[in-house]
Subunit: 467 residues, 2 copies
């Protein structure tokens, strides 16, 4: 057994003064003088480090002074009240043992390490203060997600990753296959014979677990997914990933207002939990990314989200344009999708907080969204947040079998592929609604990180699947 | 807002007698008589149903008596103490409104619905008592997983699903690609030109997140993954899936003994949590699957797992054979992998409880496992449980750079593909260990379900990716 030591988090929070403890971790800095060395140690358990004083009388002191940055060590010592500020206790070393040093080519020894450089060393970047803070918060937000939905009576559902159906009807999917790429069997007509593939049909990575989630919501009442989803679009931006994690609650006996409330409750719960559990991490991120981070989060956690219909939003944007605001790429116009610059204007300049935009034109939205009485718009929402843009898309689902079938045909989808999804409207259907939250975008928002590649351990983007 | 009603779980647990409440759910049975109807309603919030008495004086009584099974309804009524046993309260309906009936072709109207038939109707099967129990327990076990590791100071890590490396060095992977099959670009030499693929290299679905997990354990100390993993082997058995969920903790400053203890603590925590939170579900599963289910779980939750080295296990098996036990497919022999019948003998007949088998021959195990001093075996474990077989595989990892390189070359892996994994042994490495638990196998074990297809919402198996 090697797990016979005390974590730095436990030491700093319980402050067992005058006791002898053993710690194991990595050296973050070491300053040597004639009489003693001053070591900063971190073991990953907390953002805060442990300060260790090593007296020159130690038998292997000479050796200790040569320990390199991020070497792993075992230290036994006396816990004493700290003289310095910022921590409760420090340690006076009785023994210091090196486990493994670092060779000279250790990339993180340089003083200047850009975010791009750290992306190229993603296997090491969680060793920095910045990234350990991000990934600790990511953990806390994931845990808060499970806690929130569990408390609210939702069941966590694992929907399939490999799928034969295209939820959005939108393409941009990765193919999953075991056929040899340029030597696949063919049908009589020369097409690829997918009946010979592993699943005996053409399969892809999912873009959403929603359709399957609906099936379970109409049995268990309230479910949520939390799993990876995929887009093969060639988007090389700071807010797109080919592989990302999504949370998708689906609620039976619910309408759009119910899930709009659920979404804001959930986002506020995440923010409050992060502020409660990660004050040190958020202080660092605020300092590195945005001095207003904490005040913004506090405000968002405690105030209602703005809410506006798509039609009113277009009016706001048009008025802004008339008033002299220049939109670079597209003029706002009813019927078109909101461009990123429109979304940013709405939440960053006009409302200055998270904004729920509802009831978009049916032509630009998915077939499964419930048609409004006007026949032109659908009962959907996007939630936009300052600095990040859209983090949630949701809707009430079309629960009328006839209308759903009509929308499918209009979207050129084959109803045969969706037999089971149509079934849900024939057999004890109910009004139901749900949304999808892009987890990485939520992490960006709450950490203030500006590139989505920096909030997922190993990002997958066009031309990049390293590690 | 439609979420303006009381869940059946809340009604049954808080028993607000003499209050009027509204419930929404699905009709599980309806018995009509001249004076009243007796309805059983479930909304997914609990295994227990709500009993509702509907008096014939209700204005739409005639209509109510014709409501079909699994129709969705809204009922407002008075909560009264229950006369019958098994529930605290029942409801006297004041109004009953049908939301959506079922058409005549509803598959679950039949009395006899085999598990195979329900698999073909996986979009509806969570509406049955059996499957709603299974999926509620699945939720509780997933939540228990996050609670357990969070409490123990582990960080939840999302490792990549799409990967260019083959963790096990074992093949059996699904290709992920956007290249057109049978029409992909070729290199000068005629091979598929993967530099033109989405990720500019050949990519696959992961078989494990372990290697990436190790990188983060050596920064954050203790991490765990909980995500989907994939095998494209053509295994059409009751305990294999092409897509399944795995939990993989990885611990810095840990050896095999540490993670063996972690594994048994974790399994026992899952069992205790299920017994505490799902007594109704387990009672039903015990009745349907195995009358000894509860006593077995109680025993396992409170007693030490058996532990034996591979070498001693082979001796036990050989003695069994000498003593007259017939192994059908393979005689036990040092050096070969344990066959399923061997594993079953060990945990079901010899030890009669979960069994940790350690220190297998290096030749049949992965390159990353730490070599023992004997030079022949590696510091690994499999945990076998009665009725299911292997649910955990784990090991201490080779932390010596030279030995790891040697094992890679012997396994015909190209060290260049693993540059970053080798880095971890050069830069502040540490003894570390971890394991992978197949989540569906744990759910099988705890629910007593005998086919793995029945514990995941939509199973993916050879020639099957329906829904």
């Amino acid at each position: 057994m090697l797990q016979n030591f005390t974590s730095i988090k436990t030491l700093l929070t319980t402050a067992p003064v005058e006791q002898t403890h053993t710690v194991k971790g990595w050296v973050k800095s070491l300053r040597n003088s004639k009489k003693f060395s001053f070591m900063v140690l971190n073991d990953g358990s907390s953002q805060k480090d442990l300060q260790i004083v090593i007296d020159a009388t130690l038998s292997n002191y000479e050796e200790v002074t040569k320990i390199g940055l991020h070497s792993s060590v075992v230290i036994t010592g006396l816990v004493v009240a700290s003289q310095g500020k910022g921590q409760s206790v420090e340690m006076q070393a009785k023994s210091v043992t090196l486990i493994c040093g670092v060779t000279e080519d250790y990339p993180l020894q340089k003083k200047e390490t850009s975010l791009e450089f750290l992306r190229e060393n993603a296997h090491l970047r969680a060793r920095t203060q910045l990234f350990s803070a991000v990934f600790r918060i990511r953990h806390v937000l994931a845990k808060a997600t499970h806690d929130f939905f569990d408390q609210e009576g939702y069941y966590y559902l694992h929907t399939p990753i490999i799928t034969a159906s295209d939820c959005e009807g939108a393409g941009d999917m990765f193919r999953v296959s075991t056929l040899p790429i340029n030597d696949a069997p063919k049908t009589d007509k020369g097409a690829v014979d997918f009946s010979k593939d592993y699943f005996a049909k053409e399969t892809f990575l999912n873009v959403s677990g929603q359709l399957e989630g609906e099936a379970y919501a109409l049995a268990l009442g309230k479910i949520y997914t939390f799993g990876p989803t995929f887009r093969s679009e060639n988007s090389n931006t700071a807010r797109h990933l080919a592989e990302f994690w999504m949370i998708e609650p689906e609620v039976a006996f619910a309408d759009l207002d119910d899930v709009a409330k659920l979404a804001s409750d959930y986002i506020q719960f995440m923010i409050k939990t992060a502020m409660e559990k990660c004050p040190d991490e958020l202080a660092l991120l605020s300092q590195k990314n945005n001095p207003d981070l904490l005040s913004t989060l506090t405000h968002v956690a405690n105030s209602e989200f703005a809410r506006v219909t798509y039609t009113d939003a277009v009016d706001i944007l048009k008025k802004a344009q008339t008033g002299g605001h220049k939109f670079e790429f597209a003029a706002p116009d009813w019927g078109g999708d909101l461009a990123t610059e429109h979304e940013r204007y709405l939440c960053e300049i006009h409302f200055k907080k998270p904004t729920i935009v509802t009831d978009y034109p049916k032509k630009i939205k998915s077939f499964y969204m419930k048609l409004n009485a006007d026949g032109k718009t659908v009962r959907c929402m996007d939630i936009l947040v300052p600095g990040v843009g859209e983090i949630i898309g949701g809707s009430q689902r079309e629960d009328d079998h006839g209308k759903l079938l009509e929308r499918m045909l209009a979207s050129k989808l084959d109803p045969k592929d969706y037999w089971w999804y149509l079934d849900l409207r024939k057999f004890g259907g109910a009004p139901h609604a749900g949304f999808g939250l892009g987890f990485e975008r939520a992490v960006m928002y709450i950490t203030g990180m500006s590139n989505i590649r920096d909030v997922i351990p190993f990002p997958r983007t066009p031309r990049n699947a390293e590690f």
